[in-house]
């Protein structure tokens, strides 16, 4: 195992983030604060509790997921797309670094950033609404699994994208709708049929539901199913990344 290479890539990616720490942190914190003010305080005051959880608190897990998904994908896709675009990828490709090491470096860094961001949002939320976490261990597990699998997904997008437009369209066109329709702001039970049934094809539903369970002990989906869905997604992403790096898909000519 080339641990020094993993550390080098990880450090490089983290220092890139810290260089623009204001931007990296300010914008997600600001947008979640706005969500809390608008949905939590203004609208939430007129909404009843869902499954016995006050609306302001109910949306916290969903909002965290929303930010984490966006940040994981954005960060990881940029992290690999940029060296591809600027040409500095030559050094990574010519180094004694295996596909797994490459993933650990790039995706590990993106995951760390998302976890830090998640913690920050949790603290911010505290300012607006009181909440408690029923299963802190599982909360961390879900956070880690989500951050890791979507950072991996972002990494795949970064390799796949061959223009800046493509790099930005996927998160915008696919992820944002999926998260909004994934039960961040409502319980799946509140949807009429057939929307409720259709929702179960949305992978994000499983994430948000599982995550919410770790907070409040209530969920739309069975927790085992949520866990299995995330693990399945993670595995699929790892296998795709492995294939892409080994074959040199859109990395090597």
């Amino acid at each position: 195992m080339n641990w020094l290479a993993i550390a080098a890539i990880y450090k490089f990616e983290m220092s890139r983030w810290f260089r623009t720490i204001g931007q990296s942190v300010a914008s997600p914190v600001l947008s979640t604060s706005l969500y809390f003010i608008v949905f939590g305080a203004a609208i939430g005051a007129r909404m009843g509790a869902i499954d016995g959880v006050a609306y302001g608190a109910f949306i916290i897990p969903g909002l965290m997921m929303l930010s984490i998904l966006n940040e994981s994908i954005g960060n990881a896709s940029f992290g690999i797309y940029f060296p591809k675009w600027s040409g500095t990828i030559f050094e990574i490709l010519s180094a004694p670094v295996s596909w797994g090491e490459m993933l650990l470096g790039y995706v590990g860094a993106a995951t760390t950033k998302s976890m830090l961001l998640g913690a920050l949002i949790l603290v911010t939320a505290r300012v607006f609404v009181p909440y408690e976490i029923a299963h802190p261990f599982w909360m961390l597990c879900f956070l880690l699994l989500t951050a890791a699998s979507f950072s991996l997904f972002g990494f795949l997008i970064g390799i796949w994208a061959d223009s800046w437009e493509k790099l930005q369209t996927i998160p915008m066109l696919v992820i944002t709708p999926l998260t909004f329709l994934g039960g961040a702001f409502y319980s799946i039970d509140m949807l009429p049929s057939p929307w409720r049934e259709l929702t179960f094809f949305n992978p994000v539903v499983y994430l948000i539901s599982g995550f919410r369970w770790s907070f409040y002990g209530v969920s739309d989906v069975q927790i085992e199913i949520s866990l299995a869905a995330i693990l399945g997604f993670l595995t699929a992403c790892i296998l795709t990344a492995r294939w892409m790096i080994l074959s040199g898909y859109r990395l090597k000519r």
Binding site: A8, K11, S15, G87, F90, E91, S94, P96, R253
Partner: protein, 320 residues
């Protein structure tokens, strides 16, 4: 004497890089390499000489793992560069043709990054020495984007040397580079070689190959058309022409000059003398003396080097 023995030892030793049957067809169907076989000897400076588009960068990129080969194999220091990529790549350093550098990193950080990436423990003293050798020490805390093109090229060399390669590839190292950097670079290259590092450089300047290399390989349209010791090749490449534009027309080459290899053009006003620029005596002063003695005056005199293209063409013909 020692040098001769060393040279012999090199010649018989296992090649440090061995390329067999290498082909590359790009996605657009263009065939950039057509079956390359090449052995690089341990510790030599090898120049890969060829015009633009010959396939030099493609060949180097495949050896270094940046481009996938279509077929064929590369073995570096005993390691297959695909199946045992870790062993092969840990020994290879690459300075690419294009100035692909990070923008926001400092010189110091980017060199240490390279070192780590290739699995080497931090060694500030080594990186410091490399930066000093390349006159980059004063710039170590500067962001790379603030540096000039020449400085960026130095940074790329420093990055490659930071991970102590035993095989170093320099792709067109002096293209668009100032005299000072050329000078620094050749000093660094010589020192590396003294330490036993094998160096492979590509160039489309004959002079560069002549100045540095022990052996030269000529590549043309995706094929290696010859590999020779430099001295042998330079003799082949050293043919020049001296053109004398005469004041008065001549019917034929005068009797008195018949022993010199002279040629007269159809118009009878241009006298052409072919000579070997690398030989001890070119015979030019002899020729001029005898022209003066004959009272043959000339308005203008010019020597022309064969261009690389012409030499390639003649080499191809010779081979056919």
């Amino acid at each position: 004497m020692a040098a001769v023995m060393e040279a012999r030892a090199c010649a018989t030793a296992e090649p440090i890089v061995s390329v067999r049957g290498l082909t590359k067809t790009y996605a657009n169907g263009f065939s950039a390499l057509k079956g390359i076989d090449l052995d690089i000897r341990r510790g030599e400076i090898f120049a890969l000489l060829g015009p633009n588009g010959a396939g030099k960068t493609t060949l180097i990129s495949i050896i270094c793992g940046i481009v996938n080969a279509s077929s064929g194999s590369v073995v570096a220091d005993g390691f297959d560069n695909v199946r045992e990529f870790r062993g092969a790549r840990a020994r290879i350093g690459l300075v690419p043709q294009e100035l692909h550098t990070d923008a926001f990193e400092t010189v110091w950080a980017t060199c240490n990054f390279s070192r780590g990436l290739f699995g080497f423990k931090p060694n500030p003293a080594h990186v410091e020495q490399v930066l000093k050798d390349l006159s980059l020490w004063d710039k170590r805390n500067d962001k790379i984007m603030t540096l000039s093109g020449g400085m960026k090229r130095r940074v790329l060399i420093a990055k490659a040397l930071a991970h102590e390669p035993s095989i170093l590839f320099l792709d067109e190292p002096t293209a668009g580079v100032d005299v000072e950097l050329r000078h620094d670079m050749w000093n660094v290259v010589r020192r590396l070689r003294e330490r036993g590092v094998t160096i492979i450089l590509t160039t489309h300047y004959i002079e560069e190959a002549e100045e540095m290399a022990d052996r030269v390989g000529v590549i043309l349209k995706g094929e290696i058309i010859l590999v020779e010791d430099k001295a042998t090749l330079m003799q082949k490449l050293g043919k020049r022409e001296l053109n004398l534009h005469l004041c008065e027309r001549l019917e034929s080459v005068p009797e008195m000059l018949a022993d010199l290899k002279l040629e007269l053009d159809a118009a009878g006003t241009l006298l052409i003398y072919r000579f070997d620029a690398l030989s001890e005596s070119t015979g030019i002063s002899e020729l001029l003396n005898r022209l003066a003695a004959q009272g043959i005056g000339f308005r203008d005199l010019r020597t022309s080097e064969s261009t690389l293209e012409e030499i390639f063409v003649s080499l191809v013909r010779e081979r056919a």
